[in-house]
Subunit: 280 residues, 2 copies
DNA sequence: ATGAAAGTATCGCATTGTGATACATAGTTT
DNA sequence: AAACTATGTATCACAATGCGATACTTTCAT
């Protein structure tokens, strides 16, 4: 039995944040999102798609009454579904609406999509677009390949920025103080035995990524995965995203990745950068 | 200038609903989602990605104070972003999290994904998976093609069930009273000049779809689009989803769609149905 | 300059959410 | 079966919290 709870989640979510102090904040809204987030934790920590009320309590940090109020509210709104038999809750299909709301107005994704699709056909590989959010890189566009695993096909996945190639490359092409702040806020724990966790080594790696214009991560976030990333840059040199192409063993190794996937990633990222600046 | 507002959205969202009466409901939560929904309306009705506070008021039905409170709350939580210069709000990247939360636990999508990818390669076409939500068909999985338009690549898009082939085919394979209820609740307005809007004609069309096991819609929801859909069925014959393959003119016409896309859609849907029942 | 419209801040009131408690139901163990 | 435990549901008095009218500030058009 896993021990949940306790690292009780960032709530109340600000009053700590510098420039959010004093802004109006409706606590109930924060709590409802704690409930929705509980399902994500439930999936990673408990490996189950549906949660009972008491599990929601533990994972959200809310008491029983609150958990019930918010869960039922979310059911009424369609964002959770409730199995009448088991009385357990699960994510509702209406949640997809917000993905659409975000993506449909996301110019970067719109521009990148056809270019990424083309790129995926070159070697029949998965190709992803990543963007920074806090200390994570989030996959926003993924062009899937039939043989890939389901989890690696889904947009919305998060990976700690410090230990994955898209993160490295975005941190590298970012004002240094911002990058430092991200590293400082990151939970620097080893994901695999190859994960770098000390700041100087990470900064050296970032410097090299900046120099080369790409980064190859050798099993630092996943065993048997040598993955490449190249930055999508604005004219001022800031990275707004990264193109990420994973290469899985045994099909790909460090050498073939350098020979084939690196140029592809760099070129794809550059084409996106160009289209982006043209469009402005 | 479009007149917005007024059809002030279904709020308070239940007390009307039969079996949701008396369930605890936190009004603030409902209102925060009104704000998020406002962005979707803003995109379709105003064609703009970001909204000012007063636009949020109109589109959400909230007063100025409430709109501000909830918008700022959502900014603090990361679900909206605010441009400091223009003071306008736009959807935040964190919204993607909920897509992931839903999809990662969605067995149907997991099973369907590789099968849909295979299908998309046969004629290099877009292939979609749709599911019912209220009176709409929602696209939950989409395998994009480079030449397609961005809007048709995004999961989360909704189409009224009555006038699109995936909807027709799902309604057809549904207990009749449920299908009738959906039609009754639908806003039966012509989308194109070919849209059927009278119930008997729609029911005849559904009957034929049930008989054939697929449906081809000829420009009923979009001009120059002849699209095919076939139902994904459980063992009891109920549809849980539909495979949808659009065929755009001039590349595709009614004849070539029948010859090629119909068998592909039917076969793909059947393979998903089989995998689904195997997995249980 | 002037005015209108949009955005932000303030604050007393009472509505609304709160959470302790009690009750009901499901699932397990003896 | 009965007894027990855990989990889910309902109730309710209190006051904290969200409410929204008002006033203030900024921005943009004229």
């Amino acid at each position: 039995m896993l021990d949940l709870a306790d690292d009780v989640l960032p709530y109340p979510p600000s009053e700590a944040d510098p420039d959010r102090r004093g802004k109006p904040f409706v606590a109930s809204v924060g709590k409802c999102f704690q409930v929705l987030k509980a399902f994500r934790r439930g999936q990673t920590e408990l490996r189950q798609r549906d949660l009972g009320l008491s599990e929601i309590c533990k994972l959200s940090g809310l008491d029983k009454s609150a958990a019930q109020r918010f869960s039922e509210t979310l059911v009424t709104l369609g964002y959770l579904e409730k199995d009448p038999g088991t009385r357990r809750y699960r994510p509702g299909i209406a949640l997809i609406d917000f993905y659409y709301t975000f993506m449909v107005s996301h110019r970067l994704a719109q521009i990148a999509m056809p270019i990424l699709i083309e790129a995926s056909k070159v070697y029949d590989t998965t190709v992803n677009l990543c963007e920074m959010e806090g200390t994570d890189a989030i996959y926003t566009v993924r062009i899937p390949q039939a043989k890939a695993s389901y989890g690696t096909m889904l947009a919305g996945r998060r990976v700690p920025a410090f230990c994955a190639s898209p993160g490295t490359v975005m941190l590298a092409h970012m004002p240094e103080d911002e990058a430092d702040a991200v590293l400082a806020a990151s939970d620097l724990r080893k994901i695999t035995e190859y994960t770098l966790t000390d700041i100087p080594a990470l900064k050296a790696q970032m410097a090299e990524a900046r120099r080369l214009g790409y980064h190859v991560s050798d099993q630092q976030s996943q065993i048997h995965n040598v993955s490449t990333a190249a930055p999508v840059l604005l004219m001022d040199g800031r990275a707004v995203a990264a193109v990420h192409i994973p290469g899985y063993a045994p099909q790909w190794n460090l050498e073939s990745v350098h020979e084939k996937l690196v140029p592809l990633a760099v070129d794809t990222a550059r084409r996106i950068s160009d289209s982006l600046t043209d469009a402005m």
